[in-house]
């Protein structure tokens, strides 16, 4: 049965019927759920979130043609593995931004440009996204980041240097900053 299902997933991908492919991968923080569309990585769900809920959300918002297909996520898993070992400073992955719109998407794109080992304030992100007064909205954009770690919202801190928030919990945010050598 396993071979039949593998074959089916391959054929679905070849015939353009695989709208959302997902897989899980291990991380030092627990299992991550990864999902990609033909355009690129669309979702990364941190440990502590219910994977079934994430998949239901993807089915509702992108397409119900959601299949487990680790082969489609090999490069993502490889780069994440290297990143957690401290051997990769820049993800070279196509991203699908379609889960974020408007100001949030602009804020997340600004976050995506923060270099490895650097941090920015929520105010700086609001400014880059085109509205320096929308600091709270910048915080919300971080909180709703569909692709954390790869789109490094952990590099956004409070203006005074406070950690701010993190979907995976503050210890994870601290650990990521430490990994990148930017935690004082």
């Amino acid at each position: 049965m396993k071979a039949s299902l593998q074959h089916l997933t391959d054929r679905a991908a070849a015939e353009g019927l695989l709208d959302v492919a997902y897989a899980t991968t291990d991380s030092p923080f627990g299992p991550l759920l990864l999902a990609t569309t033909p355009r690129g990585l669309v979702r990364l769900s941190l440990p502590g979130y219910d994977p079934d809920e994430t998949l239901e959300e993807l089915a509702a918002r992108i397409s119900p043609r959601v299949l487990e297909a680790p082969a489609q996520l090999e490069e993502v898993r490889r780069e994440l593995g290297l990143y957690f070992e401290g051997k990769l400073r820049h993800f070279d992955l196509p991203l699908d931004w379609s889960l974020s719109k408007g100001f949030r998407r602009r804020a997340l794109r600004a976050i995506d440009r923060i270099p490895y080992g650097k941090t920015r304030s929520y105010t700086q992100i609001a400014t880059s996204a085109g509205n320096e007064r929308a600091v709270r909205a910048a915080g919300t954009a971080c909180g709703s980041n569909p692709i954390p770690i790869v789109v490094p919202c952990h590099r956004v801190l409070r203006s005074g240097g406070g950690l701010g928030g993190y979907g995976g919990g503050l210890p994870m945010k601290e650990a990521l900053l430490e990994l990148e050598g930017s935690h004082s």
Binding site: M1, S4, L5, H7, L8, R11, A12, E15, L17, V20, Y22, L55, E56, L58, A59, A60, S63, P64, R65, V66, L67, E68
Partner: protein, 155 residues
């Protein structure tokens, strides 16, 4: 309307049943092809499906259409399914009585389909009718004739 579940859930829950039914309908060696055709057709149609359908029944219906297509393409009756019980997946429990399955396999196509749909897939008459492309009365009749014949064969 609640949104459709991720397609993977359909695979996790029903792939083994679909495979078992196809093995019964077309034999072990051709079941794999029909299985692929069934799920590719299901994937193609899935986004436009309304979620008030019985998804298992919908999949088994497609499976039976693919099995009928297969028989038409081959222009012959299925090889009796003497070893349908020898499935490697421990998830499926099929009757192990080879005699019954051989007798089912020897039924005319419509009766065989009706009997497998009813007893291997547990589909109601309406769904069987949809699968066979006939009226519920005709489905009931095929099932009745099939069962009558089976009782005689196995008596």
């Amino acid at each position: 309307m609640t949104p459709l579940p991720p397609f993977q859930i359909l695979l996790d829950r029903h792939a083994a049943d679909v495979m078992a039914v196809l093995r019964g309908a077309v034999g072990r060696s051709d079941a794999e092809d029909c299985f692929q055709e069934t799920f590719l057709a299901a994937l193609r149609a899935y986004p436009k499906l309304s979620n008030d359908r019985n998804l298992r029944g919908w999949l088994l219906t497609i499976a039976h259409r693919k099995a009928i297509d297969h028989h038409r393409a081959n222009g012959r009756r299925a090889v009796p399914v003497a070893n349908v019980g020898e499935v490697e997946d421990d998830t499926i429990e099929l009757p192990r009585d080879d005699g019954i399955w051989a007798a089912v396999g020897a039924l005319p196509p419509k009766q065989r389909a009706a009997v497998t749909l009813r007893y291997a897939s547990d589909l109601p008459h309406v769904e069987i009718a949809a699968a066979l492309g006939c009226s519920p009365e005709a489905a009931r009749r095929s099932l009745h004739e099939g069962m009558k014949r089976l009782r005689k064969e196995l008596a």
